[in-house]
């Protein structure tokens, strides 16, 4: 992941001022959110499926060594090659070497978060290899020199007109209209030529089945199937947590994934491929198995549940923070609630130290997660790790929190603090003054009035009432 330029609060504040972005995000997240709710409501055993999926993924995470070795054996037995990469740099080096060995200066790509995570396109570019994105939205983002802002809908921040202008400019088509069908036809023409010509395909992997060595790719446009079947050489990059024990596990996960992500009963294209076969599909298959901070996350008993994620993006679409701030504010390949717990764990707490706070802890994300990741709980846990393991927190906050905890530790100090607050109440009521308050109180009073601090606390009332002195 690239270096973080700014903290979430500042980046989000900027994004909030972008009318087009707000409009697109609102429309898209609400549409997908409603579709998802309808698709989930059709499945009476949804909760049981979520339980089963969480169990499958926890079994994987608890026995990764076993399943990964089994996967390596199966893939090798099917004629594929397995490469182990400790981090993104190693993974990129392996892919670059494989593409160069084929003598290719171009590669076609299936939409893949893992390759974005390791910066594969940039690494290939540095080696003189052009990696073409073939998913329509990824293609738009790549043409614009931009970054995806959503896991599933990478170009969610573009309007139709912006896409028209981009295509007109890039492909020399000044008369292009903004009719989606016409725009898609242009992309299709450009992509077909690449599918037919380029000898190397690169993909991620939604799932990799240890039992059979089968790689599963889920997509909507059919571009993935082109990239997987047409080139002579196929390279798939997967995070270690994507392994599944058995082929039958797909029954559970492929029921949950499309309904959670696009709100469809089944996604348009699901491709399963196993190794290589004479006269059918690629002649060479390479599987890159990436750690990239995942074993570090695995070592954290509370944080490791983030590795259950199947990248459906239901949590993004339901999140009121994501809906308003947009994906770029998270400054990571993985935005939204899930990104706020994955990014700091994979790239380092210091790297993304403001993300665990990019949530009001409303819990909507946990409610929709198909693999039952308790995202708010992990957010709180990571806040704790950042407070205790890094120096990202202002020392004043740490002191204030500790001081407050001490105030609440005895009745006497608590009541003294309460009385002090009640005594100081008058200045807090003056709006002119409180609007100009510094620090956290100023953050509050910039847009809201402070509550009036009452003269008598509840406990004082209780005492007088029980004395019989007042009611």
């Amino acid at each position: 992941m690239t270096a973080v330029a700014d903290s979430f609060p500042r980046a989000a504040a900027l994004a909030l001022g972008d009318r087009q972005l707000r409009h697109n995000l609102r429309n898209a997240t609400h549409t997908i959110r409603d579709k998802r709710a309808a698709a989930v409501a059709e499945v009476p055993e949804w909760q049981a499926l979520r339980d089963a999926a969480a169990r499958i993924k926890d079994d994987v995470l608890g026995n990764l060594d076993v399943y990964l070795e089994r996967l390596e054996e199966s893939v090798s037995a099917a004629g594929g090659h397995v490469h182990w990469a400790r981090d993104g740099t190693e993974a990129c080096a392996i892919v670059t070497r494989l593409v160069a060995a084929e003598g290719a200066s171009e590669a076609i790509k299936v939409k893949s978060l893992t390759t974005d995570e390791i910066g594969l396109n940039e690494a290939l570019e540095r080696a003189g290899i052009r990696a073409w994105e073939t998913d329509l939205a990824e293609m738009i983002v790549q043409l614009a020199g931009d970054r995806p802002s959503h896991i599933l809908v990478p170009a969610i921040h573009f309007s139709r007109t912006e896409i028209r202008d981009l295509f007109a400019r890039s492909f020399g088509l000044p008369d292009l209209s903004d009719d989606p069908e016409e725009l898609t036809a242009v992309a299709r023409r450009v992509l077909r030529e690449r599918f037919m010509r380029i000898p190397v395909g690169i993909s991620g992997a939604n799932f990799a089945v240890a039992e059979t060595g089968t790689i599963v790719i889920v997509e909507s446009e059919g571009n993935g199937r082109m990239c997987i079947t047409l080139p002579r050489v196929l390279i798939s990059v997967m995070g270690i947590e994507k392994v599944l024990p058995r082929l039958s596990d797909l029954g559970t996960l492929l029921t949950l994934l499309p309904r959670s992500s696009t709100g469809e009963r089944a996604n348009p294209y699901t491709t399963l491929f196993t190794g290589v076969r004479d006269g059918d599909g690629p002649e060479e298959f390479h599987l890159i198995v990436l750690d990239g901070g995942r074993t570090k996350a695995l070592a954290d008993p509370e944080g490791r549940q983030a590795l259950r994620c199947i990248r459906c993006s239901a949590c993004l679409n339901i999140c009121p923070v994501y809906e308003r701030a947009g994906g770029h504010a998270y400054q990571s390949v993985y935005p939204g609630p899930i990104g706020s717990i994955i990014s700091p764990q994979l790239a380092g707490l210091q790297q993304h130290d403001s993300l665990p706070w990019a949530s009001s802890l409303c819990g909507a994300c946990a409610e929709v997660c198909p693999v039952q990741i308790d995202i708010p709980r992990v957010l709180i846990h990571l806040r704790g790790r950042i407070a205790h393991e890094t120096d990202a927190e202002p020392a004043t906050e740490r002191l204030a929190m500790r001081a407050l905890a001490r105030v609440f530790s005895t009745r006497r100090s608590y009541e003294a603090a309460q009385r002090a607050l009640a005594l100081g109440r008058s200045p807090l009521r003056s709006s002119r003054l409180t609007r100009a308050l510094p620090g956290p109180l100023g953050g509050w009073t910039a847009v809201r009035e402070l509550p009036h601090v009452p003269k008598q606390s509840f406990r004082d009332w209780w005492a007088t009432r029980n004395d019989g002195s007042g009611r």
């Binding site: 927190e393 309460q418 910039a446 009035e449």
Partner: protein, 244 residues
């Protein structure tokens, strides 16, 4: 029946009227109310800010203060969820299995106020009169963690003269989120703006909830706009028009 009131530091200090209302309603329903005076704060703000270990003494304190209480009632879905959802984890974080076991025994005894009245006591008409147009905001922790469901709505429907109106996009967070409201002030404000717009669109005169924290945020925004809409904790509406 006898219950121990867990008032929460927030209500104790800033919203005593809510506590008084809870006491009045419960007593009116024949429930004897205890107020263990040694209670202070559940520690949610510290815990949610990442200072979970620092909060463990408050967990111990809570367990001790409410050790003898058969039933614990609190007018805050959020503080209730702190105890129910986080105390066991915090005890384990501190490596204190005995404390974790004590918390385990305590959890089933903790009730959010509206569910205690509507579900435990089985009363939906508490004899209140409140002749205003009211909108209910389902606070996130009360709804998603304490699963209060429609208990607050059933109680509001039992109030004489009250006109209950539906809140559009009700389930979306108001943007408070404790320190989120100041740490991510911009996004918090954007969320609040949408919530206020939805509240104002209903033509309500009063917005209610089962958490004063959300109401402080919503009410702070409405007051800044001079919107003419009050915020009131559910208990205060239910206590309105009562005799004692």
């Amino acid at each position: 029946m006898r219950v121990a009131l867990f008032i929460t530091c927030f209500n104790d200090t800033l919203f005593p009227e809510t506590g008084k209302a809870v006491v009045r309603i419960l007593e009116r329903l024949g429930v004897e109310v205890d107020f263990p005076v040694d209670q202070t704060c559940c520690g949610q703000m510290h815990s949610n800010s990442g200072y979970g270990l620092e909060v463990v003494p408050l967990v111990r304190r809570f367990v001790r203060v409410f050790a003898d209480a058969e039933t614990i009632v609190t007018p805050s879905g959020s503080c209730a969820s702190m105890v129910v959802d986080h105390y066991e984890r915090l005890a384990k974080l501190a490596g204190d299995e005995a404390l974790a076991a004590q918390v385990g025994g305590l959890i089933p005894r903790v009730h959010e106020f509206s569910t205690f009245v509507a579900d435990e006591l089985g009363v939906e008409d508490v004899g209140a009169r409140f002749p205003y147009r009211v909108v209910y905001h389902p606070a996130c922790h009360a709804t998603r963690l304490m699963r209060v469901g429609d208990a607050p709505l059933r109680l509001l429907r039992g109030v004489e003269g009250l006109e209950l109106v539906d809140l559009p996009d009700a389930a979306t967070c108001c943007g408070f989120g404790g320190t989120f409201s100041v740490k991510n002030q911009a996004v918090s404000t954007a969320m609040m703006a949408d919530k206020l717009t939805n509240i104002m669109a209903t033509g309500a005169e009063v917005c209610t909830a089962v958490d004063n924290s959300c109401l402080m945020h919503i009410g702070g925004g409405l007051a800044r706009l001079n919107a003419g809409i009050d915020v009131l904790h559910l208990a205060e509406i239910l206590a309105a028009g009562s005799v004692n």
